[in-house]
Symmetry: C2
Subunit: 216 residues, 2 copies
């Protein structure tokens, strides 16, 4: 059975983006620090079409693993568009992912605004789902061809997946920084037990992977 | 130079206590789960005067290390008294630590209400400090005899120490649970870079230790 997985970078104080997000600075003030560990990695650079010799090692192995698992992606509306406003003000806008997004698979965007599927270069398509998170997950699972589904964020859709009991695994990449303010990963009152699956200890980030324990 | 250190158990969603704390349930609803990993350990049982054979291993080694470092403790008023109200309503109350508290060293309690020092059994004394966190830290450092000072919590005094630039190291013991609500460890807008010092990976808890980076 396909699993729904989350991999997300977070500050020690629980933020996945800093305050004052804009279209120019979609991660908010200080938010880029959460992703410093990933930008230099060979697997990430290759997926994003960046030339040069990236770093290999445990962090890179982990990102390769994370990229190999899913066959489809779930995403919130704001993560698609980047920043406040976004494409709802411009129905032809194609988000902030460029014409060759790094996914290479179907991406299901949960939104209140219906629109036609966008087919991008490199195998990515954006499918817009307006009838809720369960429907988006079911469509993603059907499209994943037996592979897992990755929920890419932001926080709202992650919290919706947790509340709906859809999430199977979550892996946090904890960056050694206190942002002080911004978008909290957990802010919706989600409760539950987790099973600690794995810790990967790296010099600049701590990767901790959990299974969500379903009540019997 | 003596260091100011924090060791604290926290849920994955950042809470050090659950909601609805009372004198009977000072850790709030679900809060005991944060400390499940420590209750069975030999070092903790011995310090708390509990009979029986406790567990040894990496978690126990870590608690022994944590207990050996400080020569004095900093504590917030509410952690001294336990729950809402507490001794401010009863000037003779001796907190919720019993007559032989587990510290065995001077404990400096930051409060707005002056009172005489309480000398307890087993080497613990409670000294009440009313002129701010810097003063409490200076008094604790002077009393620590060259050893470190441990800030025991709660969240308010930890945030005060961070904002005042007093904290040198923090080690979080991340329990695999989402409490959903309660007392957040980081909730005061504290910002800053951390240096990742050490991860101890254990089956039921993840210990991550950081140095607070001081801006030059």
């Amino acid at each position: 059975m396909a699993q729904l997985r989350l991999d997300i970078s977070v500050s020690l104080d629980g933020f996945i983006a800093g305050p004052n997000r804009t279209t120019e600075e979609p991660l908010g003030e200080g938010g880029e620090q959460l992703h410093d560990w990933v930008f230099r990695l060979a697997s990430w650079m290759e997926a994003h079409g960046i030339e040069g010799k990236g770093a290999t090692g445990p962090d890179d192995d982990l990102v390769k693993e994370q990229m190999a698992q899913p066959g489809a992606v779930l995403m919130g509306r704001r993560m698609f568009s980047g920043g406040e406003g976004g494409w709802e003000d411009d129905p032809m806008a194609e988000g902030w992912w460029g014409d060759t997004p790094p996914f290479g698979m179907p991406v299901f965007v949960l939104t209140h605004h219906a629109r036609e599927t966008l087919t991008m270069k490199g195998g990515t398509s954006f499918v817009f789902v307006t009838d809720g998170v369960e429907s988006a997950f079911e469509q993603a699972r059907a499209a994943a061809g037996g592979k897992d589904v990755a929920v890419a964020g932001g926080a709202t859709i992650v919290q919706q997946c947790l509340r709906a009991g859809l999430l199977d695994e979550l892996q946090v990449h904890v960056a050694p920084v206190l942002l002080g303010d911004g978008v909290r990963l957990f802010d919706g009152g989600e409760q539950g037990k987790l099973e600690l699956l794995r810790v990967v200890d790296s010099p600049t980030v701590t990767h901790v992977k959990y299974r969500v324990v379903r009540e019997a």
